[in-house]
C-alpha cells in the first residue's frame, strides 16, 4: 500500500470515487477526485447542486451511508497531530471517530436542523469537548462558554442553557462553528455554511470564519455554489461538475482567466453592479445538470457547452490537464479557447 503523501500537505485526496447502489441502479456520485489542502489554506469547492461537493466532504469524514448502499474508493491521507500520514479510508472505525471533531471538524448547510432540538447548546458543545478531551463538567462548561464568546454570541454563560429553537439561524450556525472549533481542528470542512442564511448574516459568518482561521491557523475546505463567497475567502478553487473536478486554480487565476467553459459560464452568470456599462442581460448556462444515472460518454458538460465539437468532446472523457503550474483543467479545447480561436 502506498502511503506517500506530499510533505507540505495537510490533506491529500487521490482518485476519490463514491458510488451509490440503489433500486434505480448505480450512481457514480464522485469520480477520480484528487486534490491537496495545505495547512492554513482555504480551498473552495464550487459547483451546482449534485456536482459532488457535499459527497466529497462526507467521504473525507467517512460519513457517507454504509455499504452496500454506498461505496467509497480511492485514498484520503491526513497529516496527524504528530506529523504522521493517516490513511483515513483504511483507518479502523474507532481511530477515525477520534479524528472527527478533533483533527477534522465539519459544519453543515442547515443550521436549523443540524443541532439536536432536545439538548441545550451547552450540552452539545460540552459533548464535543468531553468526547475528545474529557475533564470535569464545570471545566468543560467553562470551555463551552469561552467558545460561545469566541464565535460572538452575547451572554455566553446564559446561552449555555438555551435550546436551539431559542436561537436564530445565524446564531445556530455560530454554535455549530463553536462545536467545530472546540478541539482546535487542523482542517475545517464547511459545507455551504452560509447558504441557508440571510445575506447580512452570511457576511457576518464569513467574516467570523476568516477571523477564526487567522487566529487558529486551520485549513478550510469551503463548499459553496456562491462565487461571491469564493472570491472573498478562497486561496484556491476547485470547480466540480457531475462528480468530477473540471478546473482547479488559485483564486486570482480562476477569476481572471477561467479555462474551462463551464467555469467561464459560472462566472458570467454572476450578477454585477456596473455603473458605466449599459444594462446587460444576465447570462445563464443553458440546459440542466446531467442525470447522474445516465452521464454522457464524453465530457459531461458537452451537451450544454457553447464550444462543443461534436465527435470529439462527446466521444471520450477528457483528462485533467496541467495548463499552468497549479492550474488544472478538464477540457479538450482549452488551448483553442485560451488562444482565442473558438470554433
Amino acid at each position: 500500500m502506498i502511503t506517500a503523501m506530499a510533505p507540505d500537505a495537510l490533506l491529500q485526496v487521490d482518485d476519490l470515487a463514491v458510488r451509490f447502489h440503489g433500486d434505480a441502479g448505480t450512481v457514480a456520485a464522485l469520480n477520480g477526485v484528487s486534490f491537496t489542502v495545505r495547512p492554513g489554506e482555504t480551498v473552495a469547492l464550487v459547483g451546482e447542486s449534485g456536482s459532488g461537493k457535499s459527497v466529497t466532504s462526507l467521504a473525507i469524514m467517512r460519513l457517507t451511508p454504509p455499504p452496500p448502499g454506498c461505496r467509497v474508493t480511492g485514498r484520503v491521507m491526513l497529516r496527524g497531530a504528530a506529523g504522521e500520514a493517516l490513511d483515513l479510508l483504511a483507518l479502523p472505525a474507532e481511530a477515525m471517530r477520534s479524528l472527527r471533531g478533533s483533527r477534522i471538524a465539519m459544519i453543515f448547510q442547515e443550521p436549523m436542523t443540524s443541532l439536536n432540538p432536545v439538548l441545550t447548546i451547552g450540552d452539545q458543545i460540552a459533548e464535543a469537548i468531553a468526547v475528545h478531551r474529557g475533564g470535569a463538567r464545570a471545566a468543560v462548561l467553562d470551555a463551552a462558554a469561552e467558545l460561545l464568546d469566541l464565535v460572538g454570541i452575547p451572554e455566553p454563560r446564559a446561552r449555555l442553557s438555551a435550546y436551539p429553537h431559542h436561537l436564530s439561524g445565524g446564531m445556530r450556525q455560530r454554535v455549530m462553528i463553536a462545536i467545530a472549533l472546540s478541539c482546535d481542528p487542523a482542517l475545517l470542512i464547511a459545507d455551504e455554511p452560509t447558504t441557508a442564511l440571510d445575506v447580512t448574516v452570511q457576511a457576518q459568518i464569513l467574516d467570523l470564519l476568516r477571523r477564526l482561521q487567522q487566529r487558529t491557523g486551520m485549513a478550510v475546505i469551503f463548499i459553496t455554489h456562491n462565487l461571491g463567497v469564493v472570491a472573498e475567502i478562497a486561496d484556491r478553487v476547485m470547480v466540480m461538475y457531475a462528480g468530477r473536478v473540471v478546473e482547479q486554480a488559485p483564486r486570482r487565476a480562476l477569476f481572471r482567466s477561467p479555462l474551462m467553459p463551464y467555469t467561464a459560464g459560472l462566472l458570467r452568470s454572476v450578477p454585477r453592479l456596473q455603473v458605466t456599462a449599459a444594462r446587460v442581460a444576465l447570462e445563464a448556462i443553458p440546459g440542466n445538470v446531467p442525470d447522474p444515472t445516465d452521464l454522457p460518454p464524453g465530457c459531461a458538460f458537452a451537451p450544454r457547452c457553447g464550444h462543443v465539437q461534436v465527435g470529439r468532446c462527446d466521444a471520450a472523457m477528457p483528462a485533467l490537464e496541467v495548463a499552468e503550474p497549479d492550474h488544472l483543467v478538464r477540457c479538450l479545447r482549452w488551448r483553442d479557447l485560451a488562444s482565442g480561436t473558438p470554433g
Binding site: M61, L63, A93, R97, S98, L99, R100, G101, S102, A105, M106, F108, E110, T113, S114, L115, N116, P117, V118, L119, E127, A128, V131, H132, Y163, H165, M176, I179
Partner: protein, 316 residues
C-alpha cells in the same frame, strides 16, 4: 399551562358525561335485567318481583333512573352492588390492585421489549431480525389475546407445568416469588399486543430520526456510535412515543379484561365481565366511569410528560 389544564379538564368532563350516557343506554338496551336472578327463586310471584323492582328503582322511566344515578355519582355516592350490596367504590377498590399490577408490569415489559425490538429493527433495517420482528408483530396483532392466553396455559402449565394456569397466588403460599410466578404468563400475554404496536411505531420513529441532520452532526463531532444512538437517536425517537403510550392505555385496559378472564385473575376486568353477566348496573357503570377516568388521566399525563421532555413544546 394553567389555561391548558383548564381546557383539558373541561373537555374531560364533557367526555365523561358522554361516556356515562352512552354506557347507561347500552347497558339498559341489553336484554334481561337484574331481576332475572330473582325469577329463579321458587315461589316467586310477579307481584313480589314488582315490589323488588320498585325498591331498586327499576320501574321508573330510564331518563329518571339515569338522572338519579348521575345525581348521586356527582356527590360520590356510586351506589351498591345488586349482587352483594357492597358499595361500588369498595368493590372496585378490592379488584383494582390486581389489575394495576398486571397493567403496570406488562406496560414495563412492553415498553422495554417494544423499544428494543423497534430500535434494533431500525438500525438493522431489512435484516433477518427486522423481517422476523415485522412478521411477529403482524401475528401478535392479528391473533386475539384470549387465544394466546389459552396457548400459554396449554404449553407452560398443562404440558410443561412450569407456570400456574391462573390466579393471583397459591393459597397458603403468597410469597413474592409465588406472586411473580403467577404474574409471568398473564403479563406476557397482555404485553404481546402492546409490544407489537410499540415496536412498529418505535421502528418508524427511529427511521425518521436516524437521517436527521443533528445525528450526522453528532457523528461529525466524533461522538461514539453508541452515544449517538442513545443520546441523539433514541432520545428523540422516544418523544412521539409518549403520545402513543397515552393512546395505548385503553388497549391495555381492554386487553386486561380478556387476559384476566383467561387467567382467572381477580381484577377489574373479570369483575366487569361478571357484573355484566349479572346485570349489576351500579358496578358496571362504576367500572366504566372509573376506567374512563383512568384513560383520560393517562392521556393528560402523557401530554404533560411530552411537554416536560421536549423543550420545544409549551402548553397553553
Amino acid at each position: 399551562m394553567s389555561r391548558f389544564l383548564f381546557h383539558r379538564l373541561a373537555q374531560y368532563l364533557v367526555l365523561l358525561w358522554l361516556v356515562s350516557v352512552i354506557g347507561f343506554a347500552v347497558l339498559h338496551l341489553a336484554p334481561g335485567g337484574p331481576l332475572a336472578q330473582f325469577t329463579l327463586i321458587p315461589g316467586m310471584t310477579a307481584e313480589q318481583l314488582q315490589v323488588i323492582a320498585h325498591q331498586m328503582g327499576l320501574d321508573r322511566p330510564l331518563p329518571v333512573q339515569y338522572w338519579e344515578w348521575f345525581r348521586r355519582m356527582m356527590v360520590g355516592e356510586w351506589g351498591r352492588s345488586y349482587r352483594d350490596s357492597q358499595p361500588v367504590l369498595y368493590v372496585i377498590g378490592a379488584h383494582l390492585w390486581p389489575t394495576l399490577e398486571l397493567m403496570l408490569s406488562s406496560s414495563v415489559v412492553a415498553v422495554l421489549l417494544g423499544t428494543w425490538v423497534g430500535v434494533l429493527g431500525a438500525i438493522r433495517r431489512y435484516s433477518v431480525f427486522d423481517y422476523l420482528a415485522t412478521i411477529g408483530a403482524m401475528v401478535a396483532l392479528s391473533i386475539p389475546t384470549f387465544w394466546f392466553g389459552l396457548v400459554f396455559i396449554y404449553i407452560f402449565s398443562v404440558k410443561l407445568a412450569w407456570l400456574p394456569p391462573g390466579n393471583l397466588y397459591t393459597i397458603g403460599d403468597g410469597s413474592f416469588l409465588d406472586y411473580a410466578r403467577h404474574l409471568i404468563a398473564p403479563c406476557l400475554v397482555l404485553a404481546l399486543v402492546t409490544i407489537a404496536i410499540w415496536s412498529r411505531y418505535m421502528r418508524a420513529s427511529m427511521l425518521e430520526v436516524v437521517n436527521q441532520d443533528y445525528v450526522r452532526t453528532a457523528r461529525a463531532k466524533g461522538v461514539p456510535e453508541r452515544a449517538v444512538l442513545v443520546h441523539h437517536t433514541i432520545r428523540n425517537a422516544l418523544l412521539p412515543m409518549i403520545t402513543i403510550a397515552g393512546l395505548q392505555l385503553p388497549t391495555l385496559l381492554s386487553g386486561a379484561l380478556v387476559t384476566e378472564t383467561v387467567f382467572t385473575w381477580p381484577g377489574m376486568g373479570r369483575l366487569f365481565l361478571d357484573s355484566i353477566g349479572y346485570r349489576d348496573y351500579p358496578v358496571v357503570m362504576g367500572i366504566l366511569m372509573f376506567s374512563a377516568m383512568l384513560v383520560l388521566i393517562g392521556n393528560l399525563l402523557a401530554d404533560l410528560l411530552y411537554a416536560v421532555s421536549d423543550p420545544r413544546i409549551r402548553l397553553d
